[in-house]
Amino acid sequence: MRKRISVIFCLVVSLFTFVTLDSSIDKALGAEEKYPSRSIDMFCAYVPGGYADLINRFFVKGLEKYLKVLVIPGNKPGGGEVVAAIELANSKPDGYTVAFLADGPLIITPLLGKAEEYRDKLRIVAKLICTTQVMAVSTESPWKTFQEFMDYAHKNPGLTYGHGGVATAMHIRAEYLNKIGNLKMRGVPFKGDPEVTQAVLGKHVSAGFFSYQAPKRLADAGKMRILFSFTPPGFGPDPTLPTITSFFGKDTPDILPPSIYVVVPGKTPENIIKVLEGATEKVSQDPEFVNNLKTLYAQVCFTDSKTVYRDVLLKQGSIYKPILQSVGLKVVEGKEGMMAGVQ
């Protein structure tokens, strides 16, 4: 009996060793695999159920369709997306670990000089999504339009507004509006949209700045009123809302909508990046994906990797820089304050 068990055990161990060695030998001999040939891990930097997580799950569905492999969604929250960025930077650059990252770790954190661990170790495959962020007030407040709010703010400096965190994309937009509109508001930081929503509904702050979907639901229910949108004119789910250029004039530098990017480790081979970029572009044109995004009031704004570095990161960075400085944060100048590859 014992001998039989020993034999079976040896067989199992041998089989396991053989399987492992086989794949190792292939890799050692440099056997080329067609990409992708196995499942891909695709994680986002936020907790499950959050906005970015939902977008990631929709994207994963689309990617599976075009890459014909299993794509596994994951979450690596923490540190303002920095944990996810570092995790990605330290992953194997074989195209099987991909992440969804937003403006935070790709533009803001480098400007603040906190991206040393990953700044030159990531490569953006494409910009995929633009989200809409808005300013809203409670329906019990006296302002029905942004003009009324602005006039009131000029006469009564010191109004408060809620935002989802210091140096977040939302905070930067709020301070930008504060500056160009001379609103003289004080920002009260909260942790994410739900807390801002509660603060606005409870009238603990005069206004809130958040992603469109939360105030939109409440606006439909008659509890909130959306006064301003940070999207270029004609873009975004509600083109009737005032925007930077439509309200303050075409010459006012606009701030691009917050975006979400598909990112891989920096040393990922070019051929793999091309495959991912192509699949991402196909997903961006897929009607099911586009429709799914509409439930989150997000929009596709595909931009390829070359254009992203040249036009998006640099431009957004130059607008974010003075705003970050105005709220007392120290900004890194020059190339050291940008992701590697920004021209």
């Binding site: 799950r57 690596k76 540190g79 944990v83 210091v166 509890k223 944060l329």
Partner: protein, 498 residues
């Protein structure tokens, strides 16, 4: 649609075979998740989220909701049996539940925990039906100043958590507050005590901390004892609570139901805080407070009822306003949004099947959980007979896996092990963990609320006493503090005059 009509239509929805099955799957997985230390309902819900894409919204939410309140049932099992909280909300159950198990009363502890969870859960569903809307409006009145004052009130109760020295409890509270400052400062965005480690930017996780302080330290403490030690001197008998247990638990269960539901509505209130508050209230009103910490059944009945009632209360802001009060509700919100349903003030009118279906499923789910958990008590008790040489390594293994499963981050495991060693040292010097945990949870809420309040008021402290709710909480906190101080003085005065 009137209440009873709505509820009947909800039962019609949930008693369809498919939805009934989803409810069962949800509560079963939730119980399992609750029992396993570390792996929480959020992890299970996020893994199962894709499976809900192809089903109807009501089925999806029934299953996911079942995982959440099922986890509250299961979380007490390991707290009672091996002093490791299966869920962070079950930390308080460790204090008396484990002591009950050590004296051969694991069965009544598990039993009263199951019954208390059922009653608390059922109460919260009934309250959800009748008072959700007005209570949601009340919850909105809690802004930063109110939160600060409420947290001050909650912090004063940590004195009552102490079994032994009050001074040591205060020291632990201060230590907990200090630990809670680790991470990104919300107001300035600058890291504090993070030592440039990105993993610490969000602070020390509550789950690895609690698992380390209670679980790992328990393993380390037991390593000191002989391997062949008999675990319990008395035999395990009476696997269900007796009449005396019920008499003693009736009050805590009643109070816990109300307290848990009310605190669960508040974002940041939640299951953990409410269970601590319940424990302290029961200790304060008990005729035998000296029994707490040594196996008082009230110390199990109250908190376990409360955390299930709080789980029900957490649905109020989600279903009524579309605001998720905690991370678990955020996953539910995400699941609804994926299905094209927007929870909020119009949910009950636009999607009455979802609103009433979820409520009815919670009734059914609570009954399923009671039926699931009661027969398992006999099986769980047998765990206590497993030799320590096998049990402790298994506990260690589950804790390590559980800690890693939180965020797939090895540093969570490292934190857990560090706090395991810290917990072991604290035990040696007879410092209690519970005040540390309470202060750790309340500290960040209190600090951020304080600073937000001062930003709102442009630096004026009067904001705390010019707002009625905030003023009331502060006055109660001061009175409680003075009354505690006086009673401690009265107790020590005879010793001093000697």
């Amino acid at each position: 649609m009137d209440l009873f009509g709505g509820l009947l239509s909800g039962f019609q929805v949930v008693l369809q075979p498919a939805n009934f099955l989803y409810c069962f799957v949800g509560v079963f997985i939730g119980t399992l998740i609750g029992v396993l230390p570390g792996i929480g309902p959020i992890g299970a819900m996020s893994i199962l989220l894709p499976t809900t894409f192809g089903v109807s919204p009501v089925s999806a939410i029934i299953m996911l909701a079942g995982i959440y309140y099922g986890a509250m049932y299961g979380g007490s099992t390991t707290s009672i049996l091996v002093n490791i909280p299966g869920e962070s909300a079950s930390v308080v159950t460790c204090l008396d539940g484990y002591q009950m198990a050590r004296s051969g009363r694991a069965g009544p502890a598990l039993g009263i925990s199951a019954f208390g969870s059922f009653i608390g859960g059922t109460f919260s569903i009934i309250a959800l039906m009748f008072v959700a809307n007005p209570l949601a409006s009340v919850a909105l009145k809690f802004g930063p100043p109110e939160y600060f004052s409420l947290m001050c009130l909650c912090l004063t109760i940590l004195i009552y958590l102490a079994k032994g020295s009050v001074i040591k409890a205060v020291i632990m509270g201060l230590f907990g507050l200090l630990l809670s400052t680790v991470g990104l400062d919300l107001t300035t965005g600058k890291p504090r005590f993070a030592f440039s480690a990105a993993t610490l930017f969000d602070g020390i996780g509550i789950v690895p901390l609690v698992m380390g302080l209670f679980g790992i330290s328990e393993v380390l403490t037991n390593i000191e004892g002989p391997l062949e030690r008999i675990i319990f001197k008395s035999s395990i008998k009476n696997i269900l609570p007796n009449l005396d247990d019920w008499k003693r638990s009736a009050g805590p269960i009643t109070r816990g139901s109300v307290l848990g539901f009310l605190l669960g509505i508040l974002p940041g209130g939640g299951s953990i805080t409410s269970s601590f508050v319940s424990y302290t209230v029961e200790k304060k009103v008990s005729k035998h407070p000296e029994e707490f910490g040594k196996g008082a059944i009230e110390g199990v009945a109250g908190p376990e009822t409360t955390n299930n009632a709080a789980a029900g209360g957490a649905f109020v802001p989600l279903l009524v306003l579309g605001i998720p009060p905690n991370a678990v509700m955020a996953v539910l919100l995400g699941a609804l949004i994926i299905q094209g349903v927007a929870p909020g003030p119009t949910l009950i009118n636009d999607h009455p099947d979802i609103f009433w279906g979820v409520i009815a499923s919670m009734y059914v789910g609570n009954i399923m959980l009671l039926v699931l958990n009661l027969p398992l008590i006999g099986m769980w008790i047998k765990v206590l007979k497993v030799p320590y040489g096998i049990l402790m390594p298994l506990i260690l293994l589950f804790c390590l896996i559980g800690a890693y499963s939180l965020n797939n981050n090895i540093y969570d495991v490292v934190i857990m092990v560090i706090f395991g060693i810290v917990g072991y040292i604290l035990r040696k010097f007879e410092y209690e963990e519970a005040p540390l945990v309470l202060a750790f949870i309340l500290g960040p809420i209190m600090e951020t609320a304080f600073r937000r309040s001062l930003i709102m008021s442009n630096g004026k402290f009067s904001i705390f006493w010019t707002r009625p709710i905030s003023a009331a909480c502060l006055i109660i906190a001061v009175l409680l503090f003075i009354s505690t101080g006086l009673s401690i003085y009265r107790k020590t005065k005879p010793k001093m005059t000697e």
